[in-house]
């Protein structure tokens, strides 16, 4: 079956991705035990209780919203979009890391992705869930949300395809579907492993159903490889398209600060930027808690730091261009918008944003900081805040001051804006916690494929030791 193990081409000699000394058995043991045999530890229980409470806050916030209407939020005229769209864009952005890591890095043969891809894919999935809530809830009449889908009906009502919101519907739903499939397909061999390792009946049945009859046959692996590559191919354009389409929500508008061509690339870069920051924010504590240092090595976190630095610089370029054209174009409304951001009513948010998104990542030039878990953790959180602020600046401050000074207004979030945001964060963490405990967070079989390389120059390891995946 050696031919069926994913090939590990490495044209350039690099340090091994995982720590040496791991064997196929120890990898399986290490990862599957988190799911199968580990006792419920107190930390996990506390976190799940805490985030579970937050999920209830989400439930209450949504219920109140549906009862009273979007007026429970702080939105108004002229700022008709507030936390709803900010959070939507923020969450969608966070979701980008998963697809990027799993699809693009796969196609580029960046094998270091294996230790983190499942984790970030799960994160993507949950982030897209959180994101998907907002376009639905922000509607004045959410019960009519299906009107945004082209559902044939007797009234011949049809969506209006010139609207970027319409494009959003397709972009986000496609993205969510492909992300789910990608994640699930990648999980099938590991579900089979868990099925075989599971001691209790429930585990056997559930994992057995999830494994969809995976036996590790050569034919299975061959089809798996093709399917996974195809999905990667499908997901790759989505990495670029989803946030491009989301940026069209703004770029298509006439509002100063929205109507700029730099939006799509700078949104995509920003999305990857925030996505990697979120992977770090979640991965670093999980790594420490479950002692995964030999699977998620310093090289992983350093690479992620590098990606953040690169995307952060693209974002900085976007800000610079925005600034430049704001003044260079000689347009009154645009010029005012930029000046207002720098020294006017929007300056607080804008200055914070510059600090978080441009100043902070510059520390990542230093290898020492890139290798420091604590520093990276702090930076990743600052970047997450910064990227949220970026969307705040784009959505809110542009709407607060547009063309007619008489129509200007200010946005003040209400308790329900904040509780819904906290609710989605809690939901996200809640789902991540469940994921960590019930699904192997690191792909077992892909790590095993890396073992030969990690033992550089060592004897070829016989791959058929994966008996647990063979049929009975």
């Amino acid at each position: 079956m050696s031919a069926n193990i994913p090939p590990s081409p490495s044209p350039i000699r690099r340090p091994a991705v995982i720590a040496p000394g791991l064997t196929a058995g120890s990898v399986i043991e290490k990862i599957s035990s988190i799911v199968l045999s580990r006792e419920l530890d107190r930390g996990w229980l506390m976190l799940i209780a805490l985030s579970g409470t937050g999920v209830m806050v989400l439930g209450i916030s949504v219920s109140w919203l549906l009862m009273k209407g979007v007026g429970v939020w702080g939105i108004n005229e002229p700022v008709a979009w507030g936390f709803d769209i900010i959070n939507f864009v923020w969450w969608i952005g966070i979701g980008h890391a998963g697809t990027l890591i799993s699809a693009i890095l796969l196609l580029l043969h960046q094998e270091w992705r294996t230790s983190i891809n499942r984790f970030s894919e799960a994160m993507t999935l949950f982030a897209v869930m959180c994101a998907g809530m907002f376009p639905l809830l922000h509607l004045g009449r959410p019960w009519l949300a299906f009107w945004l889908f082209p559902v044939p009906n007797t009234m011949s009502m049809w969506p209006q395809f010139r609207s970027p919101l319409m494009w959003d519907v397709f972009a986000v739903s496609t993205y969510g579907t492909v992300s789910l499939l990608f994640w699930y397909v990648g999980l099938i061999p590991d579900f089979a492993t868990l099925r075989d390792k599971a001691q209790n009946k429930i585990g056997k049945v559930i994992f057995g159903m999830a494994a969809m009859g995976w036996r590790g046959a050569a034919q299975h692996w061959a089809r798996y490889e093709v399917a996974y590559l195809l999905l990667a191919g499908l997901a790759t354009p989505l990495v670029v398209s989803v946030h491009t389409v989301v940026s069209f929500d703004f770029a298509v508008g006439v509002i100063p600060g929205w109507h700029t061509t730099v939006m799509p690339p700078y949104f995509v870069a920003g999305a990857v930027y925030s996505g990697f920051a979120m992977v770090l924010t979640l991965m670093l504590p999980a790594r420490a808690a479950y002692k995964l240092h030999d699977l998620v090595t310093t090289r992983h976190i350093e690479n992620m730091g590098k990606v953040m630095l690169a995307t952060g610089l693209i974002v900085a370029y976007g800000y610079t261009m925005e600034l430049f054209f704001g003044f260079y174009a000689g347009n009154t409304a645009e010029g005012f918008m930029m000046k207002n951001r720098m020294v006017g009513s929007a300056s607080n948010a804008y200055m914070c944003l510059l600090f978080c998104n441009i100043i902070t990542p510059q520390f990542l030039w230093s290898q020492k900081i890139r290798r420091s878990v604590l520093a990276l953790f702090v930076i990743s959180i600052i970047v997450n805040i910064g990227m949220w602020l970026e969307r705040y600046v784009i959505v809110v401050t542009c709407l607060e001051r547009d063309f007619l000074p008489s129509a200007w207004g200010d946005f003040h979030p209400t308790i329900w804006d904040i509780s819904l945001f906290i609710g989605t964060i809690s939901f996200f963490i809640f789902m991540m916690l469940l994921f960590i405990r019930f699904i192997p967070m690191i792909p077992i079989f892909e790590i095993r494929a890396l073992i030969p390389k990690s033992q550089a120059g060592a004897r070829a390891l016989h791959p058929t030791s994966s008996t647990e995946a063979s049929p009975h």
Binding site: E77, V252, K339, L404, S406
Partner: protein
């Protein structure tokens, strides 16, 4: 049981037959055995023979029967909805009343009574429900327009807080009880010749009601009738008495005046006269070659002030000095102490003004506002006399009120009499002295010494609450009455609807006082006019004519020749320094407080401050700095020893040293909308200083939330000048400068000359203002193409359009908190911009409706196509399709879209449902809405035109805002019609679109504001 009973014995059955008289037919023995008598015998029989079965007979509800009954009950419960209807015959509406077509409104002429002069109205009635007031084009006080109060008055009719029943000492009562109880009391008073009776009413404008009152007074000769409004014409009246020794009221003809000077008078926007004044004034402001010139001296910025070519903001005492200086300068004898020396800039300002006045002698006009003293009114009369304006730009006539008295003096005397215990019966009609009497009269304490207090009014208000009897009044749309316009023209007030709560009209109530209980209001009014008009032969014809037209032709009061007498002009007031001068003024939205429970008026942003739901103490920015006060901070205001905590508001345009507080707020028993809004300025008002005077303020450290609909944002914030308002002068206009910024001048923006817009002669196309050149053919509007032009030169910011739009389009009120959050729903807003110096700025109004862009940014972004473009150029909003993404609003550069963030429309209060315009959807929560150019009116006109196989005529469709505008600042029509007025307006050289650089191609455009400054004074 009968089925199971053994068959009856034949002889018993025969017996029962034998007992019957006459013949009875029976079909079977069973039938016979069901006979009651027979079953009684049977029971006996069973009891004897089968004792164990007796129970079953006595109590028939056994298990089986129980089940039968229950089954039947359930089945019946199910069919209870099919209850047989009572046998009452209804008739189809086969023969409807003449001209009543369901779905088509009817219009009836009536008039809104108002103490200083009624406004003639045509009221729209849908199937018997009055829904909206329009001005009566024939009526002298209206000419087709109205003020905001008339527009809002229809909501007062349906106010759910109106009192519905007579209340006697807190108990519900009836009209019969009232008349029977009151009878002996009145008889007792009659013996005393009415010595203990006092009637207090608001100023009566109805001649027939005045005649009834006089009738009452003849029966109670020692009784007294006091008319008193908090905002009266006492000073004007006494000024006329001083100057002419006659009680006459001036009537202005602004159309003939070349130079108009207003002194503390909101001539163009305050009170019912303003409708006509604004019209006459605006007619002179459309053609730059015919411009008049308006000077305005005022303490508080008003609509008139914003329109002035020269505005001088001064504290009230300084205004009086200016008036005296003008009088002196034009040669009026002001007496030894009556003159005034003015300082520096004011002096040269006044000198230029006087020069202008003298140059235009006979064609000028000086107007004094009510807050100025009687002496100043007399002096102004003298000035106009000296300038030979009398007979040209103004004339004098009897006041519109049939019985003109000095109102405040009467009220003061009443309070004294009451506190001395001389009043035994106080009858209050349509007045609320507990709330609005001057504080020094201690009206409540005095009133409570009166043993019998009767209140007749629309609501059980502050006064009604403290009276023994409260009698609900009829709204003017529910009653017969009559009223005089400002020039005396008579209108019959005819009811549009029977009293909603069965109330009796004021005529019927006064009839009771006069001892003629039972006479209907209709008879009273009709009999009065029958007697008045004489000629009984054609009375019916004239009466019907008057009802139809809404006025009695040629009934205006004739002008009276007056001669100026010598009078003592008194002494000029000294200017107070260091302190503030408090100015108490009627509120631009609530007037004196009578409209406090009217949500439309509470929510309409005040013209200058844009405050809603509150009044506040207006301070000049320098004064605010001096006292270290910011907007929204609560200060303690002290005036003549009385204190009041009020929120401060820094108002650009407010005079130095003047602090203005509007009357009408702080009510406690107005109703759900009026209670607890703002601050009660009457608590500071005294009978000796009705309009304010020296005051001090002290900070309290408290803050108060003021809901302002438009913050004070600078047009040129951050140094970026925006081309939103264009201003020019007649001289510049002649040179071809229309106020566009320098970069635009000379090269007009590239205009689309595509096929759709080509006028064929290389002319500037009428629509698609400023549309950019495109390689694509734009849509051809071949049928109608609706467009609007708003003339910034004439908009006085009076808010009538805002309230008219609310009434026409079923726009709900959202409340103070929601306005504060920026969620008001008005489809038309009047933008107010300040220019120039912060402490004495120029002020401009710009009404903003939906621009109906030909390239509308809102349309492309709606994911469900809920807003789309009609083939007549309207940007249409489909409420039922809207899911509420709000994207359209975000993408609207003019921010004219309004969103129902919560459920704002009142779907539950029954009376409010009656008010709604059935032609316009009532919007629910989560739906976007906006101005539609009153598309329902366009549709109606289209139907009418199609039936007659013709095009819609120019002027046939009027939008609600256009129709109501006293200054006719709004023009609307088909711009494809080359003969239409709107087409001509669009071709004006100073027509411009807002934000056309965005290529929105707005259908609503503006005419640059042209002002006519005195060349010698600079702009």
């Amino acid at each position: 049981m009968s089925e199971t009973t053994p068959v009856a014995m034949p002889h018993e059955a025969l017996q029962s037959l034998a007992d019957k008289s006459g013949r009875k037919y029976w079909r079977s023995l069973d039938e016979l055995s069901r006979d009651a008598e027979f079953s009684a015998q049977l029971t006996d029989h069973v009891r004897r023979e089968f004792p164990s079965q007796v129970e079953m007979l006595a109590d028939p509800v056994q298990r089986r029967t129980f089940l039968q009954l229950m089954g039947a009950s359930l089945a019946l419960a199910g069919i209870s909805s099919c209850t047989r209807q009572p046998d009452e015959h209804i008739l189809p509406y086969a023969k409807s009343p003449e001209s009543m077509i369901p779905g088509k409104p009817l219009y009836f002429a009536t008039a809104m009574p108002w103490s200083s002069g009624a406004i003639g109205l045509l009221v729209e009635s849908h199937m018997g429900r009055p829904t909206k007031c329009e001005g009566n084009p024939e009526h002298a006080g209206s000419r087709g327009a109205t003020d905001l109060f008339s527009q809002a008055s229809v909501l007062d009719l349906y106010d759910p807080d109106r009192s519905t029943t007579i209340v006697h000492n807190g108990q519900l009562s009836t009209w019969d009880q009232l008349t029977t109880t009151l009878g002996p009391d009145l008889e007792a008073q009659k013996l005393k010749r009415g010595a203990g009776v006092r009637i207090l009413s608001s100023c009566v404008n109805s001649p027939s009601l005045a005649a009834q009152m006089v009738d009452v007074l003849t029966q109670f000769p020692r009784a007294r009738w006091i008319q008193c409004d908090p905002v009266s014409r006492d000073n004007q009246r006494m000024g006329a008495l001083l100057a002419f020794a006659e009680d006459v009221a001036p009537r202005f003809d602004l159309s003939k005046a070349e130079v108009i000077v207003t002194l503390e008078s909101d001539l163009l926007a305050d009170g019912p006269h303003a409708v006509r004044h604004a019209r006459a004034w605006a007619d002179r402001r459309r053609d730059p070659s015919k411009f008049n010139r308006l000077y305005c001296v005022e303490s508080t910025p008003t609509g008139t002030g914003t329109m002035a070519d020269h505005r001088l903001a001064l504290a009230p005492s300084e205004i009086e000095r200016v008036a005296r200086a003008i009088a002196q300068a034009v040669g009026v004898d002001v007496g030894a102490a009556g003159g005034a020396q003015l300082g520096g800039e004011v002096s040269s300002w006044v000198a230029n003004l006087v020069k202008d006045l003298k140059a235009q002698a006979g064609k000028s006009l000086v107007v004094a506002g009510e807050p100025l003293s009687a002496q100043v009114h007399a002096l102004v009369n003298a000035i106009n006399d000296k300038l030979h304006n009398v007979g040209a730009t103004l004339e004098y006539a009897e006041p519109a009120a049939p019985v003109s008295i000095e109102q405040q003096a009467g009220l003061v005397q009443l309070a004294q009499e009451m506190s001395r215990g001389e009043v035994e019966m106080l009858i209050i009609i349509d007045a609320n002295p507990v709330y609005d009497a001057p504080a020094d009269l201690e009206f409540v304490a005095a009133m409570q010494k009166v043993p019998m207090r009767i209140h007749y009014g629309l609501r059980e208000d502050e006064t009604g609450w403290l009276c023994n009897w409260h009698i609900p009044a009829t709204h003017y749309l529910e009653m017969w009455s009559d009223a005089r316009a400002f020039d005396g023209t008579l209108s019959i007030v005819q009811p549009l609807i029977a009293p909603l709560y069965g109330a009796k009209s004021v005529h019927e109530f006064v009839s009771v006082l006069a001892g003629h209980a039972g006479i209907s209001g209709y008879d009273t009014v009709r009999e009065f006019w029958k007697a008045k008009l004489g000629a009984p032969a054609d009375f019916e014809k004239r009466w019907q004519r008057a009802l139809h037209d809404g006025l009695l032709a040629d009934s205006g009061l004739p002008a009276r020749a007056v001669t100026l007498k010598r009078f003592d002009a008194g002494a000029a007031p000294t200017i107070q320094t260091g302190e503030l001068e408090l100015a108490l003024r009627p509120d631009p939205s609530l007037f004196d407080g009578r409209f406090a429970n009217n949500g439309w008026l509470q929510e309409v942003p005040k013209p200058l401050s844009k405050l809603t739901w509150d009044n506040a103490l207006y301070l000049n920015i320098d004064d605010a700095k001096r006292f270290d006060v910011k907007s929204g901070q609560v200060v303690e205001l002290t005036h003549l020893g009385r204190k009041l905590k009020v929120a401060a508001w820094i108002q650009p345009g407010q005079a130095h040293g003047a602090a203005t507080l509007h009357l009408g707020f702080g009510r406690t028993r107005a109703g759900r909308n009026g209670n607890g809004t703002g601050f009660n300025a009457y608590a500071l008002r005294t009978s000796t200083a009705l309009w304010g005077g020296a005051a001090t303020i002290a900070k309290t450290g408290e803050t108060y939330l003021l809901a302002c609909a438009q913050e004070h944002h600078d047009m040129n914030e951050q140094g970026y000048a925006r081309d939103l308002i264009r201003e020019t002068t007649p001289a510049e206009f002649a040179r071809g400068e229309y106020g566009a910024p320098a970069e635009h001048a000379g090269h007009e923006p590239a205009v689309a000359v595509s096929k759709g817009h080509d006028t064929g002669h290389g002319e500037k196309p009428a629509h698609a203002e400023g549309a950019l050149i495109t390689q694509y053919d734009s849509y051809k509007y071949e049928g109608y193409a609706w467009g609007m032009v708003i003339d910034l030169s004439t908009c006085t910011g009076c808010n009538a359009c805002v309230v008219a739009c609310v009434a026409e389009n079923n726009i709900p009120i959202v409340g103070k908190e929601q306005v504060h959050r920026g969620r008001e729903l008005h489809w038309i807003r009047i933008d107010r911009y300040f220019t120039g110096a912060k402490n004495n700025p120029g002020i401009v109004f710009q009404p903003i409706v939906c621009m109906q862009c030909e390239n509308a940014p809102c349309e492309v972004v709606c994911p469900v196509g809920a807003t789309s473009h009609g083939n007549e150029g309207l940007n249409e909003m489909v409420y039922n399709r809207c899911v509420g993404t709000k994207y359209c609003s975000n993408n609207c550069p003019y921010k004219v879209r309004r969103f129902n963030f919560l459920l704002y429309s009142d779907w539950s209060t029954p009376s409010l449902k009656l008010q709604r315009n059935p032609d316009v959807s009532v919007r629910s929560r989560g739906v976007m809405e906006k101005c539609t150019y009153c598309v329902q009116r366009i549709s109606q006109a289209r139907i009418d035109a199609k039936r007659e196989d013709r095009r819609i005529r120019d002027g046939e469709v009027q939008t609600a805002c256009q129709q109501v505008c006293p200054a006719q600042a709004i023009t609307f029509g088909d711009i494809n019609d080359k003969t239409s007025i709107v087409h001509a307006q669009k071709k004006q050289p100073h027509n411009y679109g807002l934000l056309t650089e965005l290529n929105t191609a707005p259908r609503t455009t503006y005419l640059s504001r042209v002002s006519n400054p005195n060349p010698e004074m600079g702009a």
